[in-house]
């Protein structure tokens, strides 16, 4: 009972703080439009790189362009959602260094909600819209896709649980910065790096790497496993079929681990001491 009240309170605070930042962003509307466009354009470029690759070849790792675009679109949309909601977590290290984290600790609102909503950047809609454009393009160009009710249901579930997994990684990265306040770049390897990884078919990568992102850092559940099911392809590790549907469970487990890590990190925080 107490837990769920705390969760609701956290969400309420998150909503209030992000609404405040959106109001402040909208004061400079032209700047908002430009930065959103910049965010959109930045993500377009890595898709252009894939298009350039396909101007030289017909398939990559046995996957056609629409199939790779499907992977790209699902991963980018899921990551874009997580980036919009939790992308501010990498600022935590700076707050630890300059001592402004202490201000958040004395406010009557959950620290996680305050840090996550800090400088809430609506311009990150740029990445989500670019990802969804590619996803829609892929869906209209995939020939012979056999839709079943299960696959239709799997689409939104995949995007939401993918966003959940990426959000958990953002929070874990934030918790790590309690230990090493200068190390915000490490989380880029798993967030931006993970997103880049998932844009390509798993057949491209070494088996051990695929195992690593399935069993250790479960990025494969963001899109690889469910997307391969939708595309009607076997997963390269030959896992049982129900694993493709385990995304939501994995997302919940990741969030639980991230929550524990966050608490541990916050408890160990000792400020500058002066």
């Amino acid at each position: 009972m107490g837990e769920s009240r705390a969760l609701l309170e956290g969400l309420r605070c998150y909503g209030l703080i992000s609404a405040m930042w959106i109001r402040s962003t909208m004061t400079y509307r032209a700047s908002f439009v430009m930065t959103t466009f910049g965010n959109f354009a930045a993500t377009v470029l890595d898709f252009v790189a894939i298009l350039l690759m396909f101007s030289q070849v017909d398939s990559l790792g046995g996957f056609s362009l629409p199939e790779v675009a499907f992977l790209y679109g699902t991963s980018s949309t899921a990551f874009g959602l997580a980036d919009l909601l939790m992308g501010s977590m990498d600022r935590l290290g700076r707050r630890v260094r300059d001592g402004t984290l202490d201000t958040l600790l004395v406010r009557p609102a959950p620290v996680l909600a305050q840090v996550a909503a800090d400088r809430f950047a609506l311009r990150r809609l740029g990445r989500i819209s670019q990802g969804s454009f590619v996803l829609v393009w892929a869906l209209t160009h995939l020939d012979g896709l056999q839709w079943t009710p299960l696959k239709l249901l799997l689409m939104p579930v995949m995007l939401l649980s993918g966003a959940g997994i990426f959000s958990a990684i953002f929070v874990l990265g934030g918790a790590f910065q309690f230990l090493a306040s200068d190390a915000s770049e490490v989380q880029n390897s798993f967030t931006y790096g993970g997103n880049t990884l998932l844009q390509y078919p798993p057949t491209v990568f070494a088996k051990d790497l695929v195992r690593g992102v399935t069993f250790v850092v479960p990025l494969a559940f963001v899109n690889w496993l469910p997307a391969l099911r939708i595309l009607g392809r076997d997963d390269p590790l030959g896992l049982p079929g129900w694993v493709d549907l385990a995304g939501p469970l994995v997302a919940v487990a990741c969030c639980a681990v991230a929550g524990l890590a966050w608490r541990t990190g916050l408890r160990s925080y000792r400020s500058t001491g002066s």
């Binding site: 430009m34 690759m53 030289q56 790792g61 190390a183 390897s189 390509y200």
Partner: protein, 266 residues
């Protein structure tokens, strides 16, 4: 001259202070190198001599790219934010009073930064790549010398481009938009996403002539032994030409800025 040498040394030492950040950066560059190496292997499996590279050269290109990513400041950074902030706040007026040249001062500091990043963040990802992949290494020590020279000129070109971005703050006050656009152009046209010799047709020809190709494509091609003999000298001259043109443009623009623009502040 000794003043600028001292500035360069302090730039080196300043960046060497952040050890944890350096370790974190090495880790990230290695992860990205790993991901890109596998995608390039898949690409070169399909087209074995794409862009004139064999597979080993293509993988080597990835690791050179990761080693140089921060050194040539692909996503901007280094002195950029600091100087933009000084222009915005008006502090740059004090800098212009100093008995040192503004452009040369920041160039020296950026060269010091780049030297640290080449050593601190370049060597480990490269070693990791060499350990797990079959890389194409330079055959002679002389190639290494030309490679380092080419990287140095690449850093100067990168600096000159970023300096132009910074100067735009004299008119725009907020450098954010221009910084973003310049970062995107650098990411794409330096060949960081895909080697420029893989770009098809006219796009490739144009991309190879633009200044950004001096940041990664030219040094990488020297490392891989694509340029030899007179071709090597031509490649270095190409880089140096852009460095001179862009530094000159920067000086001209700076003169206009300091003459015409009223510095902020009361």
């Amino acid at each position: 001259m000794s003043l600028y040498a001292a500035v360069a040394v302090s730039g080196f030492r300043r960046h060497s202070t952040y050890r944890v950040a350096t370790a974190a950066g090495i880790f990230t560059n290695t992860v990205f190198g790993l991901i890109m190496a596998y995608t390039y292997i898949a690409l070169w499996d399909q087209r074995p001599h794409l862009g004139g590279y064999d597979q080993s050269m293509a993988i080597t290109y990835v690791w050179i790219g990761q080693a140089l990513f921060i050194t040539v400041a692909v996503l901007g950074g280094g002195f950029q934010d600091e100087l933009i902030e000084r222009i915005r706040s008006g502090d740059v007026a004090i800098d212009l009073y100093r008995p040192a040249d503004l452009q040369a001062w920041w160039l020296a500091s950026d060269l010091g930064r780049a030297a640290f990043h080449l050593i601190g963040r370049g060597i480990v990802p490269m070693l990791f790549g060499a350990l797990f992949f079959d890389l194409t290494m330079p055959g002679t020590p002389l190639t290494w010398v030309f490679f380092i020279l080419s990287v140095a000129i690449g850093v100067v070109v990168s600096f000159a481009l970023r300096y132009l971005v910074v100067l735009s703050a004299f008119w725009l006050m907020d450098g954010g938009g221009v910084t973003t656009i310049s970062g995107l152009a650098t990411m794409f046209f330096s060949g960081m996403l895909l080697p420029l010799n893989v770009f098809p047709g006219t796009l490739g020809e144009v991309a190879r002539l633009l200044p950004w190709s001096a940041l990664l494509q030219v040094p990488a091609d020297i490392f891989l032994g694509v340029h030899t003999g007179s071709g090597l000298l031509k490649a270095l001259a190409f880089q140096a030409g852009w460095a001179v043109v862009l530094l000159g443009t920067g000086r001209a623009l700076q003169a206009v800025a300091t003459r015409k623009v009223v510095v902020q502040g009361g």
